[in-house]
Subunit: 221 residues, 2 copies
DNA sequence: TGTTAGTTTTTGAGTAGTCAAATTAGATCC
DNA sequence: GGATCTAATTTGACTACTCAAAAACTAACA
């Protein structure tokens, strides 16, 4: 059985790998995402390599093995189902579910997760629009593009928010920018570094930085 | 913040203290209940004493301080609310809730527990009839007597099962011996070491050992 | 009173995870 | 080709928890 620390490293490696062009995750990136020093990450990565969860390329980075990916998807499934539960059942605000899920995901059994999945009616996405892997480990995400790559004038629907930071999420909530909401993209300026959208229903407009807009995934219907 | 190991020790000390005439819990008892060697228990108890959770009487045993009792009751509240949730909401069998609760109790936040309490409608007891402490730390248990101290001929109602062992609980389930069920006490023999009861509705009779009967708490209405 | 059995404590060692600080390897830039 | 900057690795040390085995204490019994 993997410890909760190992579970956490594997999950982080998966998500970092996802948001990365080149396959391997370098130590700097991993250590920052884990909140540990680079030396600690190196030590742990060697251990993960020993137990076949990652392949380690010294001075370059890590890559998940098939076994590691399995574990990562199981953790993502746990995390996201728990987030859905906290919001839908216990009445958490969707901007606050992350922290509690982060600890619960390491304490639940497979039995718990499967029963929870059933109780929630087999949801496909969590409160942030992140897709929930099935119990067999398959995951399918909707086709989306980052908001900062869309062409102005087009109508877009918010599908997913990639950042888990409560401050970011509360800010998005104030702008009505969350999964399911429709907007018209008014302006997108790489030079000015801003993206402006107008909410379809309320006509309210919001301007966010280019970097943040990259973490807002939308569909162009 | 106490680690989950510390939380577990404190909870165990509380329950052992409860089922004990003399106040102090000796090392042998504590180490057995924790599943560690006596030396380990001694080491930990010294640490718990350093952080004011227990008072340690060398070569005699430990006693919770007020601070320790606070923590113990918070843990018991968590444990029992989680057990109630697993049974009532997720559909666990009440004989199986203990193991999962044992890990979850260390991973939930106060916010989680208070929201769960509300969602469940502020239950007073868990699936085994154990009373659930309030968020302010008060606990009130119904007046009960162990089944092996009752006088034959009397009608009794099962209120609480003290043992968490799944085998014991499944056995009790087969006999219909669980909170809320009514029986007539037919025979109680300290010599033979058995207690025989008859289920009021079904007329089915059950015989259990004297020791086990001591873990079945009943009310004589 | 002396012996013995049971309990408790001490000691030394091991695992998992972490950090600080020194060192090494690569890349980049003149 | 060097000088320099950054990322990565190594080393030594620390915390929290654990065990095995030896030593010490207590209590009770002969
Ligand atoms: Mn986590
Ligand atoms: Mn999420
Ligand atoms: Mn526990
Ligand atoms: Mn219980």
């Amino acid at each position: 059985m993997p410890t909760s620390t190992v579970e956490q490293y594997i999950k982080i490696i998966y998500t970092q790998q996802e948001h990365l062009e080149k396959g391997v995750v370098p130590m700097k990136r991993l250590s920052e995402a884990m909140g540990v020093t680079p030396g600690t990450a190196t030590t742990m990565v060697k251990h993960l390599s020993d137990v076949q969860l990652v392949t380690y390329h010294p001075r370059q980075g890590v890559l998940l093995t098939a076994k590691g990916e399995d574990l990562a998807l199981r953790m993502l499934r746990r995390h996201r189902l728990i987030e859905a539960f906290l919001e839908q059942v216990l009445g958490y605000d969707w901007s606050e579910v992350h922290a509690d899920a982060e600890r619960l995901e390491h304490a639940v059994s497979d039995k718990f997760i499967d029963k929870l999945d059933r109780y929630l009616g087999y949801p496909e996405v969590d409160p942030h629009g992140d897709p929930i892997p099935s119990s067999s480990g398959s995951i399918e995400s909707a086709v989306t593009v980052p908001l900062n790559t869309c062409t102005p004038g087009r109508r877009v629907r918010i599908v997913r928010l990639l950042d888990d930071d409560p401050d970011f999420l509360v800010c998005m909530k104030d702008y009505m920018i969350f999964p399911g909401e429709d907007f018209i993209l008014q302006e997108s300026s790489a030079v000015a570094g801003t993206v402006t959208v107008e909410h379809l229903r309320t006509r309210g407009s919001a301007t966010v930085g280019y970097g943040l807009a990259g973490r807002i995934l939308v569909a162009e219907p």
